[in-house]
Protein backbone atom coordinates (compact mmCIF):
# COMPACT_ATOMS: atom_id res chain seq x y z
CA UNK A 1 0.00 0.00 0.00
CA UNK A 2 1.30 3.42 -0.89
CA UNK A 3 2.02 5.66 2.10
CA UNK A 4 -0.50 8.23 0.88
CA UNK A 5 -3.27 5.62 0.66
CA UNK A 6 -2.39 4.31 4.10
CA UNK A 7 -2.49 7.82 5.48
CA UNK A 8 -5.87 8.38 3.89
CA UNK A 9 -7.22 5.17 5.42
CA UNK A 10 -5.90 5.95 8.86
CA UNK A 11 -7.31 9.47 8.64
CA UNK A 12 -10.65 8.02 7.58
CA UNK A 13 -10.89 5.55 10.44
CA UNK A 14 -9.77 8.13 12.98
CA UNK A 15 -12.35 10.42 11.43
CA UNK A 16 -15.10 7.85 11.83
CA UNK A 17 -14.29 7.31 15.48
CA UNK A 18 -14.16 11.07 16.09
CA UNK A 19 -17.46 11.74 14.32
CA UNK A 20 -18.99 8.81 16.18
CA UNK A 21 -17.76 10.20 19.48
CA UNK A 22 -18.97 13.68 18.52
CA UNK A 23 -22.42 12.34 17.58
CA UNK A 24 -22.51 10.64 20.93
CA UNK A 25 -21.49 13.74 22.84
CA UNK A 26 -24.02 15.82 20.95
CA UNK A 27 -26.62 13.42 22.34
CA UNK A 28 -28.47 13.08 19.08
CA UNK A 29 -29.49 9.62 20.19
CA UNK A 30 -29.59 8.36 23.76
CA UNK A 31 -26.62 6.31 24.95
CA UNK A 32 -28.68 3.20 25.38
CA UNK A 33 -29.43 3.21 21.66
CA UNK A 34 -26.20 4.61 20.34
CA UNK A 35 -23.16 4.11 22.55
CA UNK A 36 -19.92 6.01 22.14
CA UNK A 37 -16.80 4.29 20.77
CA UNK A 38 -15.38 4.63 24.26
CA UNK A 39 -18.18 2.56 25.73
CA UNK A 40 -17.76 -0.08 23.03
CA UNK A 41 -14.04 -0.13 23.77
CA UNK A 42 -14.77 -0.54 27.47
CA UNK A 43 -17.12 -3.41 26.72
CA UNK A 44 -14.39 -5.13 24.74
CA UNK A 45 -11.79 -4.44 27.40
CA UNK A 46 -14.06 -5.75 30.11
CA UNK A 47 -14.78 -8.93 28.16
CA UNK A 48 -11.11 -9.41 27.41
CA UNK A 49 -9.93 -8.82 30.94
CA UNK A 50 -12.32 -11.29 32.56
CA UNK A 51 -11.77 -13.85 29.84
CA UNK A 52 -15.39 -14.24 28.68
CA UNK A 53 -14.51 -12.74 25.32
CA UNK A 54 -11.73 -15.21 24.62
CA UNK A 55 -13.79 -18.08 25.90
CA UNK A 56 -16.59 -17.01 23.56
CA UNK A 57 -14.25 -16.69 20.59
CA UNK A 58 -12.72 -20.07 21.39
CA UNK A 59 -16.10 -21.77 21.65
CA UNK A 60 -17.37 -20.30 18.38
CA UNK A 61 -14.18 -21.12 16.50
CA UNK A 62 -14.13 -24.63 17.86
CA UNK A 63 -17.69 -25.23 16.69
CA UNK A 64 -16.87 -23.64 13.36
CA UNK A 65 -13.85 -25.88 12.92
CA UNK A 66 -15.75 -29.08 13.67
CA UNK A 67 -18.80 -28.10 11.63
CA UNK A 68 -16.79 -26.95 8.66
CA UNK A 69 -14.62 -30.09 8.72
CA UNK A 70 -17.69 -32.30 8.67
CA UNK A 71 -19.27 -30.17 5.93
CA UNK A 72 -16.13 -30.33 3.80
CA UNK A 73 -15.67 -34.06 4.21
CA UNK A 74 -19.35 -34.78 3.62
CA UNK A 75 -19.69 -32.26 0.82
CA UNK A 76 -16.75 -33.67 -1.09
CA UNK A 77 -18.04 -37.22 -0.76
CA UNK A 78 -21.54 -36.28 -1.85
CA UNK A 79 -20.28 -34.05 -4.66
CA UNK A 80 -17.99 -36.69 -6.10
CA UNK A 81 -20.74 -39.28 -6.07
CA UNK A 82 -23.18 -36.90 -7.69
CA UNK A 83 -20.69 -36.15 -10.44
CA UNK A 84 -19.68 -39.74 -11.10
CA UNK A 85 -22.95 -41.62 -10.67
CA UNK A 86 -25.68 -40.20 -12.88
CA UNK A 87 -28.49 -41.76 -10.84
CA UNK A 88 -27.25 -40.16 -7.64
CA UNK A 89 -27.20 -36.83 -9.41
CA UNK A 90 -30.68 -37.19 -10.84
CA UNK A 91 -32.12 -38.08 -7.48
CA UNK A 92 -30.13 -36.74 -4.53
CA UNK A 93 -28.79 -33.92 -6.69
CA UNK A 94 -32.15 -32.24 -7.03
CA UNK A 95 -32.65 -32.34 -3.28
CA UNK A 96 -29.24 -30.82 -2.63
CA UNK A 97 -30.12 -27.77 -4.74
CA UNK A 98 -33.27 -27.32 -2.70
CA UNK A 99 -31.60 -27.80 0.67
CA UNK A 100 -28.95 -25.27 -0.35
CA UNK A 101 -31.61 -22.59 -0.48
CA UNK A 102 -32.69 -23.09 3.13
CA UNK A 103 -31.12 -20.42 5.34
CA UNK A 104 -28.92 -22.04 7.95
CA UNK A 105 -30.80 -20.43 10.87
CA UNK A 106 -33.93 -22.18 9.65
CA UNK A 107 -32.27 -25.44 10.67
CA UNK A 108 -31.96 -24.24 14.26
CA UNK A 109 -35.42 -25.20 15.49
CA UNK A 110 -34.97 -28.70 14.11
CA UNK A 111 -31.50 -28.88 15.60
CA UNK A 112 -32.88 -27.90 18.98
CA UNK A 113 -35.58 -30.53 18.81
CA UNK A 114 -33.17 -33.20 17.64
CA UNK A 115 -30.09 -32.39 19.65
CA UNK A 116 -31.27 -30.13 22.45
CA UNK A 117 -29.25 -27.14 23.54
CA UNK A 118 -25.93 -28.83 22.93
CA UNK A 119 -22.78 -28.29 20.93
CA UNK A 120 -24.03 -31.03 18.64
CA UNK A 121 -27.06 -28.87 17.83
CA UNK A 122 -24.95 -25.81 16.96
CA UNK A 123 -22.63 -27.96 14.90
CA UNK A 124 -25.57 -29.54 13.09
CA UNK A 125 -26.76 -26.08 12.02
CA UNK A 126 -23.23 -25.20 10.91
CA UNK A 127 -22.93 -28.36 8.86
CA UNK A 128 -26.38 -27.91 7.33
CA UNK A 129 -25.49 -24.36 6.34
CA UNK A 130 -22.17 -25.21 4.72
CA UNK A 131 -22.32 -28.74 3.33
CA UNK A 132 -24.40 -28.03 0.24
CA UNK A 133 -22.14 -25.25 -1.00
CA UNK A 134 -19.22 -27.63 -0.79
CA UNK A 135 -21.25 -30.36 -2.48
CA UNK A 136 -22.37 -28.22 -5.39
CA UNK A 137 -18.93 -26.80 -6.02
CA UNK A 138 -17.29 -30.20 -5.80
CA UNK A 139 -19.87 -31.54 -8.22
CA UNK A 140 -19.20 -28.72 -10.69
CA UNK A 141 -15.48 -29.21 -10.24
CA UNK A 142 -15.54 -32.94 -10.90
CA UNK A 143 -17.85 -32.44 -13.89
CA UNK A 144 -15.39 -29.97 -15.35
CA UNK A 145 -12.30 -32.12 -14.96
CA UNK A 146 -10.34 -32.44 -18.16
CA UNK A 147 -11.37 -35.98 -19.24
CA UNK A 148 -7.79 -36.64 -20.33
CA UNK A 149 -6.70 -36.50 -16.68
CA UNK A 150 -9.07 -39.31 -15.86
CA UNK A 151 -8.16 -41.31 -18.97
CA UNK A 152 -4.44 -40.88 -18.29
CA UNK A 153 -4.84 -41.98 -14.69
CA UNK A 154 -6.93 -45.00 -15.63
CA UNK A 155 -4.38 -45.86 -18.28
CA UNK A 156 -1.67 -45.85 -15.62
CA UNK A 157 -3.74 -48.22 -13.52
CA UNK A 158 -5.72 -45.96 -11.17
CA UNK A 159 -9.22 -47.08 -10.32
CA UNK A 160 -11.86 -46.85 -7.56
CA UNK A 161 -10.73 -45.12 -4.40
CA UNK A 162 -7.32 -44.23 -5.80
CA UNK A 163 -8.90 -42.58 -8.80
CA UNK A 164 -11.02 -40.46 -6.46
CA UNK A 165 -8.36 -39.44 -3.97
CA UNK A 166 -5.42 -39.14 -6.36
CA UNK A 167 -7.12 -37.63 -9.39
CA UNK A 168 -10.75 -36.54 -9.07
CA UNK A 169 -10.37 -34.61 -5.84
CA UNK A 170 -7.11 -32.82 -6.65
CA UNK A 171 -8.26 -32.10 -10.20
CA UNK A 172 -11.49 -30.56 -8.93
CA UNK A 173 -9.67 -28.67 -6.21
CA UNK A 174 -9.83 -25.18 -7.70
CA UNK A 175 -13.62 -25.39 -7.79
CA UNK A 176 -13.71 -27.00 -4.39
CA UNK A 177 -11.79 -24.05 -2.97
CA UNK A 178 -14.64 -21.78 -4.03
CA UNK A 179 -16.91 -24.25 -2.31
CA UNK A 180 -14.82 -24.08 0.85
CA UNK A 181 -14.84 -20.29 0.76
CA UNK A 182 -18.57 -20.14 0.30
CA UNK A 183 -19.00 -22.96 2.79
CA UNK A 184 -16.95 -21.15 5.39
CA UNK A 185 -19.02 -18.01 4.98
CA UNK A 186 -22.21 -20.00 5.47
CA UNK A 187 -20.71 -22.01 8.32
CA UNK A 188 -19.75 -18.83 10.14
CA UNK A 189 -23.25 -17.49 9.62
CA UNK A 190 -24.60 -20.80 10.88
CA UNK A 191 -22.52 -20.80 14.05
CA UNK A 192 -23.43 -17.24 14.99
CA UNK A 193 -27.08 -17.72 14.08
CA UNK A 194 -27.40 -20.95 16.04
CA UNK A 195 -25.62 -19.49 19.05
CA UNK A 196 -27.99 -16.53 18.96
CA UNK A 197 -31.04 -18.77 18.85
CA UNK A 198 -29.76 -21.47 21.18
CA UNK A 199 -28.29 -18.80 23.42
CA UNK A 200 -25.71 -21.29 24.50
CA UNK A 201 -22.12 -20.06 24.80
CA UNK A 202 -20.01 -18.58 22.01
CA UNK A 203 -19.99 -15.15 20.36
CA UNK A 204 -23.62 -15.42 19.24
CA UNK A 205 -24.57 -16.00 22.87
CA UNK A 206 -22.57 -12.96 23.99
CA UNK A 207 -24.38 -10.97 21.33
CA UNK A 208 -27.67 -12.23 22.67
CA UNK A 209 -26.67 -11.39 26.22
CA UNK A 210 -25.95 -7.87 25.05
CA UNK A 211 -29.37 -7.78 23.47
CA UNK A 212 -31.18 -9.16 26.50
CA UNK A 213 -29.42 -6.76 28.82
CA UNK A 214 -30.18 -3.96 26.35
CA UNK A 215 -26.45 -3.33 26.38
CA UNK A 216 -25.86 -1.84 22.94
CA UNK A 217 -22.14 -1.35 23.55
CA UNK A 218 -21.76 -5.07 24.09
CA UNK A 219 -23.83 -5.79 20.98
CA UNK A 220 -21.64 -3.54 18.84
CA UNK A 221 -18.46 -4.84 20.46
CA UNK A 222 -19.43 -8.43 19.63
CA UNK A 223 -20.33 -7.47 16.08
CA UNK A 224 -16.89 -5.94 15.70
CA UNK A 225 -15.30 -9.12 16.99
CA UNK A 226 -17.39 -11.27 14.62
CA UNK A 227 -16.48 -9.00 11.74
CA UNK A 228 -12.77 -9.03 12.49
CA UNK A 229 -12.70 -12.81 12.81
CA UNK A 230 -14.52 -13.00 9.49
CA UNK A 231 -12.01 -10.73 7.77
CA UNK A 232 -9.04 -12.54 9.25
CA UNK A 233 -10.19 -16.05 8.37
CA UNK A 234 -11.24 -14.98 4.91
CA UNK A 235 -8.03 -13.11 4.21
CA UNK A 236 -5.49 -15.28 5.96
CA UNK A 237 -6.82 -18.71 5.13
CA UNK A 238 -9.20 -18.82 2.21
CA UNK A 239 -7.88 -15.96 0.09
CA UNK A 240 -4.35 -17.30 0.36
CA UNK A 241 -5.34 -20.87 -0.29
CA UNK A 242 -7.29 -19.75 -3.33
CA UNK A 243 -4.45 -17.65 -4.73
CA UNK A 244 -1.99 -20.46 -4.25
CA UNK A 245 -4.16 -23.14 -5.80
CA UNK A 246 -5.17 -20.93 -8.70
CA UNK A 247 -1.59 -20.15 -9.65
CA UNK A 248 -0.41 -23.72 -9.07
CA UNK A 249 -3.16 -25.13 -11.25
CA UNK A 250 -2.15 -22.58 -13.88
CA UNK A 251 -5.53 -20.89 -13.80
CA UNK A 252 -4.17 -17.40 -13.26
Amino acid sequence: MKPSVLAKKIAFFVGIVLVWQALDSANVWPDKIFPSPLEVGESLWYGASNGTLFYGIGTSLWRLAIGLSIAIAGGITLGVFMARVETVNQTIGSIVLGLQSIPSVAWSPLAIVWFGLTDAGVIFVTVAGAIFSVTINTYTGVKNINPDYIAAAQNMGAKGGQLITKVLVPAAFPYMISGFKQGWAFAWRGVIGAELLFSFLGLGFLLNVGRQLSDVSQVIAMMLVIMIIGIVIDGLIFKRLEDKVMSRWGLR
Binding site: I112, V113, W114, F115, G116, L117, T118, A120, S199, R211, Q212, L213, S214
Partner: protein
Amino acid sequence: LSSGQPESDKNQVRVVFFANVNHAVPIVGLENGEFAKELGSTAIKTRVVDSGPEVIEALFTKSADLGYLGPAPFVIGYVKSKTDDIKILSGAASGGASFVIQKDSTISTAADLDGKKIAAPFVGNTQDVSLRHYLAEHNLKPRESGGTVTVYNIANPEIYTIFAKGDIDAAWVPEPTATMLVEQLGGKRLFQEEDTWPDGKFSSVLLVGRTEFLEKHPDVVAKWVAANTNTVNWIKENPDKTESIFIDFYKKYTGKKLDENIIHDAFSHIQITSEPIQNSISIFAERAYGLGYLGHSGYNLDHIYYDVNNGTVGGTSWQN
Protein backbone atom coordinates in the same frame (compact mmCIF):
# COMPACT_ATOMS: atom_id res chain seq x y z
CA LEU B 1 -30.76 -38.15 16.74
CA SER B 2 -30.49 -36.79 20.24
CA SER B 3 -27.46 -38.91 20.82
CA GLY B 4 -24.31 -37.60 22.35
CA GLN B 5 -25.82 -36.63 25.68
CA PRO B 6 -24.80 -38.97 28.43
CA GLU B 7 -27.75 -40.78 29.97
CA SER B 8 -28.09 -39.56 33.50
CA ASP B 9 -26.45 -42.13 35.68
CA LYS B 10 -27.61 -43.08 39.10
CA ASN B 11 -25.66 -40.46 40.90
CA GLN B 12 -26.93 -37.35 39.29
CA VAL B 13 -30.13 -35.53 38.59
CA ARG B 14 -30.37 -32.72 36.06
CA VAL B 15 -32.94 -30.02 36.71
CA VAL B 16 -34.07 -27.01 34.68
CA PHE B 17 -36.08 -23.99 35.79
CA PHE B 18 -36.46 -20.25 35.13
CA ALA B 19 -35.07 -17.25 36.96
CA ASN B 20 -38.59 -16.04 37.79
CA VAL B 21 -40.19 -15.34 41.13
CA ASN B 22 -42.74 -18.07 40.31
CA HIS B 23 -39.86 -20.51 40.39
CA ALA B 24 -39.01 -19.66 43.96
CA VAL B 25 -39.23 -23.32 45.02
CA PRO B 26 -36.31 -24.68 43.00
CA ILE B 27 -34.33 -21.45 43.46
CA VAL B 28 -34.73 -21.24 47.21
CA GLY B 29 -34.49 -24.98 47.77
CA LEU B 30 -31.25 -25.17 45.84
CA GLU B 31 -29.79 -22.03 47.39
CA ASN B 32 -30.57 -22.99 50.98
CA GLY B 33 -29.36 -26.54 50.48
CA GLU B 34 -32.70 -28.29 51.05
CA PHE B 35 -32.47 -30.38 47.88
CA ALA B 36 -28.83 -31.25 48.43
CA LYS B 37 -29.55 -32.35 51.98
CA GLU B 38 -32.42 -34.59 50.94
CA LEU B 39 -30.64 -36.13 47.95
CA GLY B 40 -27.44 -36.97 49.81
CA SER B 41 -24.81 -38.38 47.50
CA THR B 42 -26.78 -37.77 44.33
CA ALA B 43 -25.26 -34.81 42.51
CA ILE B 44 -27.55 -32.02 41.31
CA LYS B 45 -26.94 -30.30 38.00
CA THR B 46 -29.01 -27.25 37.24
CA ARG B 47 -29.64 -25.11 34.22
CA VAL B 48 -31.61 -21.90 34.01
CA VAL B 49 -33.65 -21.39 30.84
CA ASP B 50 -36.02 -18.71 29.62
CA SER B 51 -39.11 -20.58 28.57
CA GLY B 52 -41.33 -23.63 28.92
CA PRO B 53 -40.50 -24.91 25.43
CA GLU B 54 -36.85 -25.02 26.41
CA VAL B 55 -37.72 -27.18 29.41
CA ILE B 56 -39.67 -29.53 27.15
CA GLU B 57 -36.77 -29.65 24.67
CA ALA B 58 -34.33 -30.44 27.44
CA LEU B 59 -36.53 -33.29 28.68
CA PHE B 60 -37.24 -34.65 25.19
CA THR B 61 -33.59 -34.66 24.21
CA LYS B 62 -32.72 -36.27 27.55
CA SER B 63 -30.49 -33.44 28.60
CA ALA B 64 -32.58 -32.94 31.75
CA ASP B 65 -34.41 -35.27 34.10
CA LEU B 66 -36.68 -32.93 36.04
CA GLY B 67 -38.02 -29.51 35.25
CA TYR B 68 -40.18 -26.67 36.49
CA LEU B 69 -42.56 -25.09 34.01
CA GLY B 70 -46.07 -23.83 33.53
CA PRO B 71 -49.04 -26.11 32.87
CA ALA B 72 -49.58 -24.98 29.27
CA PRO B 73 -46.14 -25.95 27.91
CA PHE B 74 -46.36 -29.12 29.94
CA VAL B 75 -49.66 -30.11 28.38
CA ILE B 76 -48.38 -29.24 24.90
CA GLY B 77 -45.25 -31.31 25.44
CA TYR B 78 -47.21 -34.19 26.94
CA VAL B 79 -49.63 -34.37 24.02
CA LYS B 80 -46.80 -33.99 21.48
CA SER B 81 -44.81 -36.83 23.04
CA LYS B 82 -47.75 -39.20 22.34
CA THR B 83 -46.18 -41.82 24.58
CA ASP B 84 -46.49 -40.30 28.05
CA ASP B 85 -42.83 -39.25 28.06
CA ILE B 86 -43.29 -36.70 30.84
CA LYS B 87 -45.29 -36.62 34.08
CA ILE B 88 -46.38 -34.16 36.71
CA LEU B 89 -44.81 -34.80 40.10
CA SER B 90 -46.05 -31.86 42.07
CA GLY B 91 -47.04 -28.22 41.98
CA ALA B 92 -44.71 -25.35 42.82
CA ALA B 93 -46.74 -22.15 42.48
CA SER B 94 -50.14 -20.76 41.71
CA GLY B 95 -51.09 -17.37 40.38
CA GLY B 96 -48.50 -14.73 39.72
CA ALA B 97 -49.35 -13.29 36.32
CA SER B 98 -50.95 -9.98 35.44
CA PHE B 99 -52.17 -7.98 32.52
CA VAL B 100 -50.32 -4.66 32.57
CA ILE B 101 -51.09 -1.65 30.38
CA GLN B 102 -49.18 1.57 29.76
CA LYS B 103 -49.63 4.31 32.31
CA ASP B 104 -51.64 6.65 30.09
CA SER B 105 -53.50 3.85 28.38
CA THR B 106 -57.23 4.11 27.76
CA ILE B 107 -57.69 0.36 27.66
CA SER B 108 -60.35 -0.70 30.11
CA THR B 109 -62.25 -3.56 28.52
CA ALA B 110 -61.32 -6.42 26.24
CA ALA B 111 -62.91 -4.67 23.28
CA ASP B 112 -60.32 -1.89 23.62
CA LEU B 113 -57.59 -4.37 22.65
CA ASP B 114 -58.66 -4.22 19.02
CA GLY B 115 -55.65 -3.07 16.95
CA LYS B 116 -53.32 -3.02 19.96
CA LYS B 117 -49.86 -4.51 20.42
CA ILE B 118 -49.58 -6.93 23.30
CA ALA B 119 -46.64 -9.00 24.50
CA ALA B 120 -46.54 -12.36 26.23
CA PRO B 121 -43.59 -14.68 26.71
CA PHE B 122 -43.18 -17.43 24.11
CA VAL B 123 -45.82 -19.18 22.08
CA GLY B 124 -47.48 -21.93 24.08
CA ASN B 125 -46.29 -20.41 27.32
CA THR B 126 -48.88 -20.26 30.12
CA GLN B 127 -49.43 -16.50 29.77
CA ASP B 128 -49.54 -16.82 25.98
CA VAL B 129 -52.33 -19.40 26.19
CA SER B 130 -54.21 -17.22 28.63
CA LEU B 131 -53.79 -14.11 26.48
CA ARG B 132 -54.80 -15.74 23.22
CA HIS B 133 -57.71 -17.49 24.85
CA TYR B 134 -58.80 -14.18 26.35
CA LEU B 135 -58.62 -12.55 22.92
CA ALA B 136 -60.54 -15.39 21.29
CA GLU B 137 -63.19 -15.22 24.01
CA HIS B 138 -63.72 -11.61 23.08
CA ASN B 139 -63.75 -12.28 19.33
CA LEU B 140 -60.35 -10.80 18.66
CA LYS B 141 -57.79 -12.45 16.41
CA PRO B 142 -54.02 -12.02 16.26
CA ARG B 143 -52.52 -10.68 13.05
CA GLU B 144 -50.93 -13.93 11.92
CA SER B 145 -54.44 -15.36 11.69
CA GLY B 146 -55.66 -12.37 9.76
CA GLY B 147 -56.84 -10.44 12.83
CA THR B 148 -56.03 -7.03 14.19
CA VAL B 149 -54.13 -7.63 17.43
CA THR B 150 -50.35 -7.85 17.26
CA VAL B 151 -49.05 -10.42 19.72
CA TYR B 152 -45.32 -10.33 20.43
CA ASN B 153 -43.95 -13.55 21.86
CA ILE B 154 -40.64 -12.57 23.39
CA ALA B 155 -38.64 -13.12 26.55
CA ASN B 156 -39.55 -11.23 29.72
CA PRO B 157 -36.47 -8.96 29.80
CA GLU B 158 -37.24 -7.86 26.27
CA ILE B 159 -40.87 -7.26 27.09
CA TYR B 160 -39.60 -4.94 29.78
CA THR B 161 -37.39 -3.12 27.24
CA ILE B 162 -40.03 -2.58 24.60
CA PHE B 163 -42.66 -1.70 27.21
CA ALA B 164 -40.26 0.99 28.39
CA LYS B 165 -39.82 2.26 24.82
CA GLY B 166 -43.59 2.41 24.45
CA ASP B 167 -43.53 -0.01 21.53
CA ILE B 168 -46.34 -2.08 23.04
CA ASP B 169 -49.66 -1.20 24.59
CA ALA B 170 -49.90 -4.03 27.08
CA ALA B 171 -48.26 -7.19 28.36
CA TRP B 172 -49.47 -10.43 29.95
CA VAL B 173 -46.51 -11.39 32.06
CA PRO B 174 -45.42 -13.39 35.11
CA GLU B 175 -43.71 -12.06 38.22
CA PRO B 176 -41.47 -10.22 38.79
CA THR B 177 -41.82 -8.69 35.34
CA ALA B 178 -45.41 -7.63 35.96
CA THR B 179 -44.49 -5.78 39.12
CA MET B 180 -41.43 -4.25 37.45
CA LEU B 181 -43.62 -2.87 34.69
CA VAL B 182 -45.88 -1.35 37.30
CA GLU B 183 -43.34 -0.05 39.77
CA GLN B 184 -40.53 1.01 37.47
CA LEU B 185 -42.31 1.95 34.28
CA GLY B 186 -45.53 3.24 35.70
CA GLY B 187 -47.68 0.59 34.06
CA LYS B 188 -51.19 -0.13 35.30
CA ARG B 189 -52.17 -3.61 36.43
CA LEU B 190 -55.50 -3.95 34.64
CA PHE B 191 -56.21 -7.31 36.23
CA GLN B 192 -54.48 -10.29 37.78
CA GLU B 193 -54.78 -13.53 35.92
CA GLU B 194 -56.43 -15.31 38.89
CA ASP B 195 -59.33 -12.90 38.54
CA THR B 196 -60.23 -14.70 35.32
CA TRP B 197 -60.22 -18.16 36.94
CA PRO B 198 -62.89 -20.07 38.82
CA ASP B 199 -62.03 -20.03 42.56
CA GLY B 200 -59.39 -17.38 41.74
CA LYS B 201 -56.82 -20.13 41.56
CA PHE B 202 -54.76 -21.62 38.77
CA SER B 203 -51.56 -23.55 38.64
CA SER B 204 -48.62 -21.55 37.31
CA VAL B 205 -45.58 -23.73 37.97
CA LEU B 206 -45.39 -27.53 38.00
CA LEU B 207 -42.59 -29.93 38.87
CA VAL B 208 -42.40 -32.49 36.08
CA GLY B 209 -40.13 -35.40 35.24
CA ARG B 210 -39.03 -37.53 32.35
CA THR B 211 -40.92 -40.85 32.58
CA GLU B 212 -37.89 -42.94 31.76
CA PHE B 213 -35.98 -41.31 34.60
CA LEU B 214 -38.91 -41.68 36.98
CA GLU B 215 -39.07 -45.40 36.28
CA LYS B 216 -35.35 -45.91 36.67
CA HIS B 217 -34.77 -43.79 39.75
CA PRO B 218 -37.94 -43.70 41.85
CA ASP B 219 -35.88 -43.23 45.03
CA VAL B 220 -34.19 -40.09 43.76
CA VAL B 221 -37.51 -38.77 42.54
CA ALA B 222 -39.20 -39.42 45.87
CA LYS B 223 -36.46 -37.50 47.65
CA TRP B 224 -36.74 -34.59 45.23
CA VAL B 225 -40.51 -34.38 45.65
CA ALA B 226 -40.12 -34.50 49.43
CA ALA B 227 -37.59 -31.68 49.30
CA ASN B 228 -39.94 -29.77 47.00
CA THR B 229 -42.70 -30.00 49.59
CA ASN B 230 -40.31 -29.07 52.41
CA THR B 231 -39.19 -26.02 50.49
CA VAL B 232 -42.79 -24.94 49.87
CA ASN B 233 -43.36 -25.04 53.60
CA TRP B 234 -40.08 -23.29 54.36
CA ILE B 235 -40.96 -20.46 51.99
CA LYS B 236 -44.33 -20.02 53.61
CA GLU B 237 -42.62 -19.72 56.99
CA ASN B 238 -39.73 -17.53 55.87
CA PRO B 239 -41.05 -14.93 53.42
CA ASP B 240 -38.30 -12.38 54.17
CA LYS B 241 -35.45 -14.83 53.78
CA THR B 242 -37.07 -16.12 50.61
CA GLU B 243 -37.02 -12.66 49.12
CA SER B 244 -33.39 -12.01 49.92
CA ILE B 245 -32.36 -15.44 48.66
CA PHE B 246 -34.13 -14.71 45.41
CA ILE B 247 -32.47 -11.29 45.05
CA ASP B 248 -29.04 -12.80 45.69
CA PHE B 249 -29.68 -15.59 43.20
CA TYR B 250 -30.86 -13.16 40.53
CA LYS B 251 -27.80 -10.99 41.03
CA LYS B 252 -25.56 -14.03 40.75
CA TYR B 253 -27.29 -15.22 37.59
CA THR B 254 -27.80 -12.02 35.62
CA GLY B 255 -25.53 -9.54 37.33
CA LYS B 256 -28.52 -7.30 38.01
CA LYS B 257 -29.60 -6.19 41.45
CA LEU B 258 -33.36 -6.26 41.87
CA ASP B 259 -35.24 -3.77 43.97
CA GLU B 260 -36.35 -5.30 47.28
CA ASN B 261 -39.72 -3.59 47.21
CA ILE B 262 -40.46 -4.98 43.80
CA ILE B 263 -39.62 -8.49 44.87
CA HIS B 264 -41.68 -8.10 47.99
CA ASP B 265 -44.58 -6.84 45.94
CA ALA B 266 -44.12 -9.58 43.34
CA PHE B 267 -44.25 -12.33 45.96
CA SER B 268 -47.48 -10.90 47.26
CA HIS B 269 -49.09 -11.80 43.94
CA ILE B 270 -48.05 -15.44 44.08
CA GLN B 271 -49.07 -18.45 46.11
CA ILE B 272 -46.32 -20.95 46.63
CA THR B 273 -47.99 -24.35 46.82
CA SER B 274 -47.23 -27.96 46.04
CA GLU B 275 -50.74 -28.56 44.83
CA PRO B 276 -50.97 -28.70 41.07
CA ILE B 277 -54.60 -27.47 40.98
CA GLN B 278 -55.76 -30.19 38.66
CA ASN B 279 -58.87 -28.61 37.24
CA SER B 280 -56.85 -25.61 36.05
CA ILE B 281 -54.59 -27.98 34.15
CA SER B 282 -57.60 -29.45 32.34
CA ILE B 283 -58.79 -25.96 31.52
CA PHE B 284 -55.38 -25.00 30.18
CA ALA B 285 -55.47 -28.10 28.00
CA GLU B 286 -58.90 -27.16 26.66
CA ARG B 287 -57.75 -23.63 25.93
CA ALA B 288 -54.54 -24.78 24.28
CA TYR B 289 -56.51 -27.20 22.14
CA GLY B 290 -58.84 -24.42 21.16
CA LEU B 291 -55.83 -22.44 19.97
CA GLY B 292 -54.63 -25.37 17.85
CA TYR B 293 -51.60 -25.93 20.08
CA LEU B 294 -52.42 -29.59 20.67
CA GLY B 295 -52.97 -30.65 17.08
CA HIS B 296 -56.39 -31.04 15.60
CA SER B 297 -57.42 -34.60 16.33
CA GLY B 298 -58.30 -34.61 20.00
CA TYR B 299 -56.08 -35.20 23.03
CA ASN B 300 -55.86 -37.41 26.05
CA LEU B 301 -54.55 -36.46 29.49
CA ASP B 302 -55.23 -39.78 31.22
CA HIS B 303 -51.73 -40.47 32.41
CA ILE B 304 -50.21 -37.16 33.27
CA TYR B 305 -49.55 -37.75 36.96
CA TYR B 306 -46.84 -39.68 38.71
CA ASP B 307 -47.64 -41.36 42.00
CA VAL B 308 -44.68 -40.70 44.22
CA ASN B 309 -45.86 -42.91 47.08
CA ASN B 310 -46.11 -46.04 44.96
CA GLY B 311 -43.37 -45.08 42.57
CA THR B 312 -45.72 -45.87 39.72
CA VAL B 313 -46.35 -43.84 36.65
CA GLY B 314 -49.59 -43.27 34.87
CA GLY B 315 -52.03 -41.89 37.39
CA THR B 316 -55.12 -40.09 36.20
CA SER B 317 -55.01 -37.75 39.15
CA TRP B 318 -52.47 -36.36 41.51
CA GLN B 319 -52.24 -37.81 45.00
CA ASN B 320 -49.66 -36.78 47.50
